[in-house]
Symmetry: C2
Subunit: 219 residues, 2 copies
């Protein structure tokens, strides 16, 4: 699919993988890598990587490869994660709280400015230095603070109306972890639906398929 942004959704989907690979190389003190080197680590073809990167400019040199640090920075710039983003988390339950403490929001320029919940056990407290407010204060908050991105981690049954309220109040992007598909086509909001279980189910498919193949081989 073409995105109208000069690169396909598949290409854009692969950029974070390239960045992750480059960060690991940096951690290992490796300063230069070929497209073949990246390809091997990610089970892709070198030409795929060269094609993807060529859509955004000219990186690396024939025979030399890529400067790991430089390419990582370029990809951060392409992804826009070199810029600072204000993030709120709506739904500070177990998943929301885990992300607050576990995800490297800060290291990636995501500034979690507030959490919102309905649970008085967490309201008025801070989680990982982030203040948590009652969800009733959300709309007022959005009127006062520029929020770039909302992590939506409320229970399933609250997903749709909460998302609608975020969209109506000008939140430009929702990272949706509720396992409900959100369709907000009528609003000026970007939604990324992230489905944990889809990935677990795919794995289960391959597990069952493999065990069937083994059964056949031993039959």
């Amino acid at each position: 699919m073409k995105t109208g942004l000069g690169a396909s959704t598949n290409t854009i989907g692969r950029l974070p993988k390239y960045l992750r690979c480059l960060q690991e190389l940096e951690d290992q003190g490796i300063s230069r890598v070929s497209s073949t080197g990246i390809a091997e680590r990610l089970s892709l073809t070198p030409s795929q990587i060269r094609q993807d990167l060529a859509q955004f400019g000219s990186f690396g040199a024939q025979g030399y490869g890529y400067d790991v640090k430089l390419l990582a920075n370029c990809i951060r710039e392409i992804l826009g994660i070199n810029k600072s983003h204000n993030v709120i988390i709506v739904g500070v339950g177990s998943i929301g709280r885990a992300l607050l403490t576990h995800l490297e929001f800060q290291g990636n320029n995501y500034h979690v400015v507030a959490g919102f919940d309905t649970d008085y056990g967490v309201i008025g407290k801070t989680v990982n230095d982030t203040p948590v407010y009652h969800v009733d204060e959300l709309i007022d908050f959005l009127g006062e603070v520029d929020v770039d991105l909302c992590v939506l981690a409320v229970p399933k049954e609250h997903a749709k109306h909460t998302a609608l309220s975020l969209a109506k109040n000008g939140v430009p992007a929702i990272w949706n972890l509720t396992n409900v598909d959100l369709e907000l086509g009528n609003y000026d909001v970007l939604v990324e639906n992230m489905h944990f279980l889809d990935s677990l189910f795919s794995l289960t498919f391959y597990l069952e398929a493999t065990s069937k193949t083994k059964e056949k081989a031993f039959a």
Copy 2:
């Protein structure tokens, strides 16, 4: 990509989405749906859905559409999630614990038989009825209990050697949430790398791209 299993990885990746859509329809009391009805809900084309499903057999009838419940059960069977699977969680930190309480493991026939950690704050306790043991007991445990799948949620720096130990001790599938790419090609183990941040980064790309487009429009 062909999987050698009669269906492409893309098709298999879409099956959980179809199942999720059908489950939502069931929850809404809808018993019959056309490929167009599914397509609209998932922003796909009807022909894509018909092609995907045709790879696994003949479902639905021209002009009638699909029986929601029946098709959901068929997809559960194709994915293998109608069968019972024994699951362990290695790394019962915030993400591991959130998944234990949040994910619908039980409703999907995943039986979480044990958790493993190095933190004495959680060892010897139960989380959501699942007993948590010291990670030193893992290998003995694997010798005694048939484990189908391991949810790997240890800190980054322990990802590789823990995964290797799981593979060497016969765990057939690892659902890897460590944000480290695991390559265990030499072992007879399936690995599904699930990267939270990739999805957040893609969303950020679109957010930045959209705001650039808007800036241009107003320039």
